[in-house]
């Protein structure tokens, strides 16, 4: 059962935000597809993940430069993975610069009468919906945010989405896919929630047990790939099956719930708590009281299938958290060295490793774009 037609014309891809976890991961995944001729990644920082054939261009959000890259490389698909969804990760001014101004610049780079871009995939966030006491239990994509944004991050996301929607309206020939991702869990990402769940006892707001939706990091990666290889215009929620109550999530992790946060004025004590080391972002405070559920069926109807339910993602995280203290120091850390990367890509003395391994192991390199 598949509803969305596959898209064989995705060949030359530009990934913005290559140095973010999602950008790097997506580039790694796309490298395995024969269909993809070229992967160009842009970011203002150096890549954090090891890449084989992705070309990195260090450029900040300047639309004239981006536009030249898009034209020169004849990019047909732009995948924007830059959105910052944790207001504590980087300074607030930078968040706004990245989420709003950055999005506008990238959209500007894709416009123009002779632009080669025919697909634009935007990774957005379920923070778009906010979290209030009179929300529906399951947000569908057609629902507008019922209340004006309360926090700077939510304001930025609403603004960024508005810009993308405007772009989609003005350029009907471009397939625009927007993915509103739920709270992500996984061993490689660090969010407000994963940090909270790593604490020995998990704080809760007294008298509240919010319903929360989670999604495994692999599923977000696959959701981006699905958008790259299929024709799925529109906005979609990305969230695993099942909505967990926070108390349920904590018991799945095998931790103790600690209902100590005050039900009123939770925002006021967030500041002191941050100083004590429990760094709770503003946009998470309401989530800890009212929670948020998403209707994830629309993306499933395009043929996408989740690998993990919310519960399974939570169990996986629990396993990871138990192994983590043992694993300390074992993780490989990758550092980008421009000279080495350029040598590996362009020197004629480097033998084509991919071609060699392909002949060794048979079909390895002929990975089909659709059935991972």
């Amino acid at each position: 059962m598949i509803d969305a037609a596959s898209d064989p014309d995705t060949r030359r891809v530009l990934i913005t935000g290559l140095s973010t976890y999602w950008g790097g991961r997506l580039a790694q995944a796309l490298e395995g597809f024969e269909q993809i001729e070229a992967i160009i990644g842009v970011d203002s920082h150096e890549p954090t993940q090891e890449l084989e054939r992705t070309e990195f261009v260090k450029v900040s959000n300047q639309h004239s430069l981006l536009q030249r890259i898009v034209r020169a490389a004849e990019i047909d698909t732009v995948i924007d993975t830059r959105l910052v969804v944790n207001s504590l990760a980087i300074p607030p001014r930078v968040v706004h610069e990245n989420n709003v101004i950055g999005t506008m610049n990238i959209l500007a780079a894709c416009t123009g009468a002779d632009s080669p871009v025919r697909k634009f995939v935007f990774k957005s966030s379920a923070f778009y919906y906010g979290s209030e006491s009179d929300d529906p239990a399951f947000f569908t994509e057609a629902m507008r945010r019922p209340h004006p944004p309360q926090t700077a991050l939510e304001r930025d996301i609403v603004e960024a989405e508005a810009a993308v929607e405007d772009f989609a309206d003005k350029r009907p020939e471009v397939t625009v896919t927007m993915l509103r991702c739920s709270n992500v869990l996984g061993p490689d990402v660090e969010t407000g929630f994963t940090r909270m769940f790593a604490l020995p006892a998990v704080p809760m707001v007294f008298g509240f047990d919010p319903r929360l939706h989670f999604v495994h990091e692999d599923d977000i990666g696959h959701a981006l790939e699905h958008a790259a290889f299929h024709h799925v215009p529109g906005t979609y929620n990305v969230a695993g099956d099942g909505v967990l109550a926070l108390s349920e999530a904590i018991s799945l992790l095998g931790k103790l719930p600690l209902p100590v946060l005050p039900p009123w004025g939770t925002g006021l004590i967030a500041g002191p708590l941050r100083r004590l080391g429990f760094r709770i972002p503003d946009e998470m405070i309401n989530l800890l009281r009212f929670g948020r559920g998403l209707d994830n069926r629309a993306y499933k109807a395009t043929g996408f299938r989740y690998g993990y339910t919310s519960r399974e993602a939570m169990v996986k995280l629990g396993e990871h958290l138990r192994v983590q203290p043992v694993m300390k120091g074992v993780e490989r850390t990758y550092r980008y060295e421009r000279e080495v990367e350029e040598f590996l890509r362009w020197s004629r003395h480097v033998r084509d490793q991919r071609a060699e391994s392909a002949s060794d192991e048979g079909v390895e390199a002929d990975r089909e774009p659709l059935g991972i």
């Binding site: 596959s6 995944a29 909505v243 339910t309």
Partner: protein
């Protein structure tokens, strides 16, 4: 790193065949309700709660203890017309409403669980207020209450095919004083009819006699309501004198329930007729009229408030 983590489980859709006759430019259609139903999350047997936050454990415990006691021995509930509650498919139960902390919802749910040939869970719609108030917010979903949002009602009726109970009088019903007992308030703006029609679910008018006497409200204190941030602050024989427990101190009035013949919204025109505001209002009036009429009849037959 990421790649090795991804290897133990992979998820992208498996494409069985790529139909060569199909044009590549075909747009994916948002599928109609019937087919979206298949895509609802599967039930995970290991979970204690469902996606609405409903807990079988908490609900079962309440059912065996508090609700059982009130239903059997305190209110001695008597049920008529339970066969009018459909055994399958979504249906919207519409009932009159009274009592400071209304016992009627729990009694209706219990009657379907105990007396119906195919016992089904009942979802009770409550004010959004409860989700925002500490304590209530935690307990209320566990026992099968959901916020009265049109989208929630639609998902329950149309997609999940469940039974939903609404009180169209809403807060106007629970606020009303003892002297106004069994006088139905305005039935909102007919939103419940719209919800049922959009979901093509049956409407089951339901009458409850006894709830008004079980917890008579003599007055509403406005300034106390504002002080506590509660929905309302009633004066009853036991509240606030016994503190929060006074909310559960019901008088032993005899409860009588009557489920009336269901109204088929498909016959009324179903989903397409939802926009017809006149029809919606007429149906809402009709439902209200039938409940009021039956209430009068039931009270007329009742010889004693306490013994029925």
């Amino acid at each position: 790193m990421a790649r090795s983590m991804a290897s133990d489980r992979t998820s992208l859709a498996h494409v069985e065949t790529d139909d060569p006759d199909e044009p590549a430019e075909r747009l994916p259609e948002r599928r109609p309700v019937e087919r979206m139903r298949e895509l609802l999350p599967a039930i995970e047997p290991d979970r204690e709660l469902n996606d609405w936050g409903r807990s079988e454990r908490v609900e079962g415990f309440m059912d065996r203890t508090l609700v059982e006691f009130f239903y059997r021995y305190w209110f001695r509930a008597e049920v008529e017309g339970i066969e009018h509650v459909p055994a399958e498919g979504g249906a919207l139960l519409v009932s009159n409403h009274a009592g400071a902390l209304p016992p009627d919802a729990a009694v209706i749910a219990k009657s379907i669980r105990d007396e119906h040939s195919t016992p089904r869970p009942l979802y009770i719609t409550v004010e959004h207020f409860f989700k925002g108030y500490p304590g209530f917010s935690m307990l209320i979903p566990k026992i099968g209450c959901v916020a009265a949002h049109p989208a929630n009602v639609h998902r329950l009726l149309a997609d999940e095919q469940e039974l939903v109970l609404v009180f169209p009088e809403g807060r106007k019903g629970t606020e009303k004083l003892y002297k106004d007992r069994y006088r139905l308030r305005r039935f909102g703006r007919g939103g419940f009819v719209e919800a049922a029609m959009r979901a093509e679910a049956k409407i089951v008018p339901t009458c409850v006699v006894g709830a008004e006497e079980a917890m008579p409200v003599f007055a509403q204190l406005d300034f106390m309501k504002r002080l506590t941030g509660l929905l309302y602050f009633p004066i009853t024989p036991t509240f606030p004198w016994l503190g929060p427990l006074g909310m559960l101190a019901y008088l032993p009035a005899k409860f009588k329930l009557r489920f009336l013949e269901p109204i088929d919204t498909v016959e009324l025109g179903g989903r397409e007729a939802t926009e017809d505001k006149a029809l919606v209002q007429t149906v809402a009036q009709e439902v209200r009229g039938r409940i009021q009429e039956n209430l009068h009849e039931m009270i007329g037959k009742r010889k004693s408030v306490w013994f029925g």
